[in-house]
């Protein structure tokens, strides 16, 4: 039987079982090799000791605990034990009476190959070759952050330099292979790998656990349905607005409460930025280039938030859109910046719905129907009004549909002295403000304030952009 024991002197359990290793080395039917991590002279009295000073063996055999005892056949591991437990070691090795006088059981210690102070360096050393992106050297006299600006990789704010170590750490956030193609990114229609998304996620300031959300956002954005190319190229002030649903929100610490659309939460702030940087850097979509926005909006830096499902009077957005409640999803909407909706007096749902409708009618222009979708983000104090009255989301949507029907005579060109409007032919009909399913309702925000928010859309529909939901995979 061939055995390999991985140990380090610094581990009290490893020192404790030094006599056991001698016993195994002397046993008739056992060939023992000891791999020692921190001291080539440890353990004493064993014939074959390999000093794993660069931790190559330990890293490549996924050693997490020392001592670890491996049973090996023709170089291939068959099974392993960790820590010291006499009866297990005896049955595992077939050698009786191991370590007389020793305690029956002692837990092991952490392997040096998973030491938090070493693991990034080891991953870079042993896995750096897996990264295919071009290496760019920075000069000694260059400031790292300025170098990112100089090379055109920033959206105007500082970015985190994407070193091999940081990118490999980012890739720990997904089970997907670095060379897997995620999407073909407009406007240059470039095949984009998981690795390239990870690099841009590093630039954006993401943590590894955000990466699956970013990958899904890139996938969703680069579909014919969502039409990132058109959204980028348009002169309108719109960009991808991202709504996250499901358990991933809590898992990565997103903020659905106070200041939900504002600054201060790392996940909210960086996930949207990672998508935008991917479009900029991989797709080549830059302001003044293919991005022709007349004025743009600050949300084009990053615009991502989670729904407050737990406090909502309604079913969450992803369930409404056909996903299981325990699925994690991201919904992309082509949207402008958020605008406030104040109603501090309505305490019954009909009154509040009328306020919502009055504000929703003005999305992009009060005389333009059917073109622009909208998101209505209901704040908790407004949500409570519907909850207490027992209204469902479907009920609210139906009422808002009725309340946002526009009389043709009011919105034809020239009506109210405004040239903008619909053609004269619509004078005698009513037109809905929004397409069927063109109004997305979500719930988010802090507990105080009788406010909600509207996010107006872009050219919505098959010829423009459809709100697009995708499930987030690990």
């Amino acid at each position: 039987m061939n055995l390999v024991a991985v140990v380090k002197r610094d581990c009290p359990t490893c020192s404790l079982i030094e006599p056991v290793l001698k016993q195994l080395d002397a046993a008739m039917d056992v060939t023992l090799e000891v791999v020692t991590q921190d001291d080539p002279a440890f353990p004493s009295g064993v014939t074959q000791v390999q000093f794993d000073d660069d931790l190559f063996y330990s890293y490549h055999h996924d050693i997490e605990t020392v001592p670890t005892l491996l049973r090996v056949d023709e170089g291939v591991e068959q099974s392993r034990l960790v820590g010291w437990k006499r009866d297990e070691w005896e049955s595992f090795t077939g050698v009786p009476d191991l370590g007389p006088g020793l305690p029956d059981w002692r837990p092991g210690c952490g392997s040096l190959s998973v030491d938090p102070s070493l693991v990034d360096e080891l991953r870079t050393r042993f896995e750096g070759h897996r990264l295919k992106a071009r290496r760019v050297d920075l000069a000694d006299l260059e400031d790292d952050i300025e170098a990112m600006f100089d090379r055109g990789w920033s959206d105007g704010l500082p970015v985190v330099p994407p070193t091999e170590t940081r990118v490999l750490r980012m890739l720990q956030g997904t089970t997907r292979a670095p060379d897997e193609i995620v999407a073909v990114v407009p406007p240059d229609l470039v095949e984009c790998t998981v690795e390239k998304v990870a690099i841009n996620a590093v630039l954006a300031g993401c943590l590894p656990e955000y990466l699956p959300v970013v990958l899904t956002a890139v996938e969703a954005a680069c579909t014919d349905e969502f039409n990132m190319h058109g959204l980028l190229a348009t002169t309108m002030p719109v960009g991808p607005v991202m709504i996250v649903n499901g358990p991933v929100r809590q898992r990565i610490g997103m903020n659905a409460g106070v200041n939900v659309l504002g600054q201060g939460n790392r996940a909210n702030s960086t996930i949207g930025r990672a998508l935008q940087l991917t479009v900029r850097n991989v797709g080549g979509g830059r302001p003044g280039g293919v991005d022709r926005a007349t004025q743009g909006n600050p949300g084009k830096l990053s615009f991502c938030f989670p729904e407050d499902e737990e406090g909502s009077p309604f079913e969450p957005l992803h369930v409404e859109r056909g996903f299981a409640p325990d699925a994690s999803t991201i919904t992309l909407f082509p949207g402008e910046g958020p605008r406030g909706l104040v109603d501090q007096l309505s305490r019954d749902p009909e009154s509040l719905a009328r306020s919502f409708a009055a504000c929703l009618r003005t999305v992009q222009h009060p005389k333009l129907p059917m073109v622009f979708d909208a998101i209505l983000i209901i704040g908790p104090e407004h949500g409570r009004v519907f909850k207490e009255a027992g209204w469902t989301k479907a009920q609210l949507k139906e009422r808002l549909h009725e309340l946002t029907l526009l009389d043709g005579a009011e919105i034809i060109r020239g009506a109210h002295g405004i040239a903008e409007g619909v053609p004269e032919g619509f004078k005698d009909v009513q037109l809905p403000k929004f397409r069927p399913d063109g109004l997305l309702i979500v719930h988010a925000g802090g507990g105080a304030g009788l406010f909600s928010t509207i996010i107006g859309g872009w050219a919505n529909g098959e010829t423009g952009s459809q709100p697009t939901t995708r499930e987030i995979r690990s």
């Binding site: 990264l131 992106a133 071009r134 290496r135 760019v136 000069a139 170098a147 630039l203 850097n281 080549g284």
Partner: protein, 92 residues
Amino acid sequence: MTRTVLDPTSERSPAHRERVARPSSLTGLKVGLLDISKARGNVFLDRLEELLTARDVTVSRFAKPTFTKPAPIDLRHEIATQCDVVIEALAD
């Protein structure tokens, strides 16, 4: 110490930045003379320095450690930050 980062772009453009446009005159410009360390390149550059200095052009001298390899990133950065123009003595 040289730091290395991974290119976040599609890599369709060269990693190094574009050269600036050739100036119509050297008057008032800072000119770097880069010796690539091939034999007698220095002789050629010494003469150029004489001629340029006589025309009131500011000249700085640089040298690659070896002609067999590209200029180190630090040397390129030094030239780029100190000079408007560089003249490289390519061959022996």
